[in-house]
Amino acid sequence: MNIIVCVKRVPLTQEVDLEIDPSKRDVRSDMLAYVMNEWDNYAIEEAILLKEKLEGTVTAMTIGSEDDEEVLRRCLAMGADKAIRVDPGTLELDSFTISKILAAVIKGLDHDLVLTGVQAEDNNEGAVGIMLAEHLGLAHSAVVVGIEPEGNEATIRVELEGGIDEVSKIGLPAVLSIQTGINEPRYVSIMGIRKAAKKELNVIELGELELSEDDLLTRTTIEEIFLPPETEGAEIIEGDASTIAEEIIRIIKEKGVSI
């Protein structure tokens, strides 16, 4: 089974005071640390688990700059066989252009399964995977929490609301967007990443791909980003730990909970 996994490098934004850059269309990135998108971490693990069971190859792929190769090296260290980076140069990206570029590369590769994350942690769109499926003309499913391939189909579980899973059969090849919790991603050591440096990492320039001008034109544009409107928000409890604890206990009791 040959599996392609699309991965993205995203900034860590918890416990960070995000600043908007002068263009007003992005955050100031110079202060941020980057990691692999959480959902993609589960997707690459799932691909490697399937490969360990069924043999074949795993190819990790990203569209991004040289700095983004960090996530590909991580995938290689986890057990991917090959990695591909497409350099978009200064091209403006949205889920449409990203899916077009991914499709142009994947078309030329052997694939029984293409995995993406459900969503990227930065823009939270949840669109690239299923757009990609349509470009490739493949069967597709989103928010997948289980995959069991058997011959030219797979039994999959899609996670719906309220803890309900939908079990289906899907024809392969297919594109699936992977939900967190589907597995337990393995630990990657710095040593592991160093060792994986010998594995193949190809860089493709946009010009090498069969893409028209229209294919590279975004369909959505971020006009501006802004801080959430000041709503009423929480009443902040201040003071030392003991005062805070007292206040919390008072509120809990006041609301009719007996403790």
Partner: protein, 322 residues
């Protein structure tokens, strides 16, 4: 006069709440634009649904077929493409739900119409639609415009708008046949499985102490459990805690977990992603403890503590044992 489409989402003989929320927003947009509002219903038995949505739309386009009993992204995308070509709606609203996520992006490619997902608001500026989205898990908002097009596709965030009936509309029922040449879907429904049931039902708890990824590691769950044992509440959690197997699934609060309605919800180290807070809208009072003063949870909480959760937990234990 233009048109706004709302794609009805339903499951097991029931219309999903997101449908009413989309109809709510579509009503507002239709009024502002003097457009008509059309609910598009793909199902096996329309009679059951039409009365519920008929008075919220000017038209109900019903495609009724045995094969539409269960949701099928492939059938939805084929049928909707045909209807969009026939009616040319200015806007087509779909839910940003697992099912919406499975067909809306494919429909965008199939029709060539631009798509914006997970929108919390839809505006019209100079006749053009623009949407408001949340990025970085709600820490920032973005305003997004579309490439000029005949029509636009939007998926709406669940819970962004009310479910109430608004406007005064008399839905005319239009029945359509399922296209004869529609390909057999490559994905076939087998069954639904309930994974959230467990030893305990957190949705019945009066007082929940909820832990998020901020708890750091598995051992620390015990620290919080100790507090819960003294306080007398029930422990619940956000999704990453379940993903890491630190607590069983039946403790999870949120869209893919349980909807809860305690008198008090004490959130420890939870950032407040919409999929989480959607599960606590029925909570009486929310108290959030988070190190990050910009965490979105503080926008929905009644009380906030900007501090290390362990400091607060220890102080609470001390007070209670005193």
């Amino acid at each position: 006069m233009g048109e706004i489409f709302v794609v009805v989402e339903h499951r097991e003989e029931e219309i999903r709440e997101i449908t009413f929320q989309m109809l709510w927003k579509a009503n507002e947009l239709a009024q502002a634009l003097s457009h008509s509002l059309t609910a598009v219903l793909l199902c096996d038995n329309g009679e059951a649904f039409v009365p519920e949505i008929g008075d919220r739309a000017d038209r109900v386009i019903l495609v009724e077929d045995e094969s539409l009993k269960n949701f099928s992204a492939e059938r939805y995308k084929e049928i909707l493409k045909g209807l969009i070509e026939e009616y040319n709606p200015f806007l087509t609203l779909m839910g940003h739900t697992p099912w919406g996520m499975e067909f809306a992006p494919a429909l965008s490619i199939k029709t060539g119409l631009p798509l914006a997902t997970d929108c919390v608001d839809i505006l019209i500026e100079d006749g053009n639609p623009k949407v408001i989205r949340q990025i970085y898990n709600g820490k920032l908002f973005s305003k997004v415009s579309f490439k000029a097009s005949e029509g636009y596709l939007i998926t709406q965030r669940p819970g962004a708008f009310p479910t109430d009936k608004v406007g005064d509309r008399q839905g005319e029922l239009i029945k359509k046949e399922i296209p004869a040449d529609i390909p057999e879907p490559r994905k076939q429904f087998v069954e639904f499985v309930d994974t959230a049931a467990g030893e305990m039902d957190i949705s019945q708890a009066e007082f929940l102490v909820s832990v998020g990824r901020g708890v750091g590691e598995e051992e620390n769950i015990k620290v919080v459990q100790d507090l819960v044992d003294t306080l007398g509440g029930v422990i619940s959690c956000s999704r990453p805690v379940v993903d890491k197997n630190w607590l069983p699934k039946f403790h999870q609060v949120g869209t893919s977990g349980k909807t809860v309605k305690p008198k008090v919800y004490l959130a420890l180290g939870i950032s407040g992603a919409f999929q989480h807070v959607a599960g606590i809208s029925g909570a009486g009072t929310v108290i959030a403890v988070n190190k990050d003063k910009k965490a979105p949870i503080f926008r929905v909480a009644d009380y906030g503590v900007v501090d290390d959760l362990f400091k607060v937990v220890e102080a609470l234990k001390k007070k209670l044992s005193a």
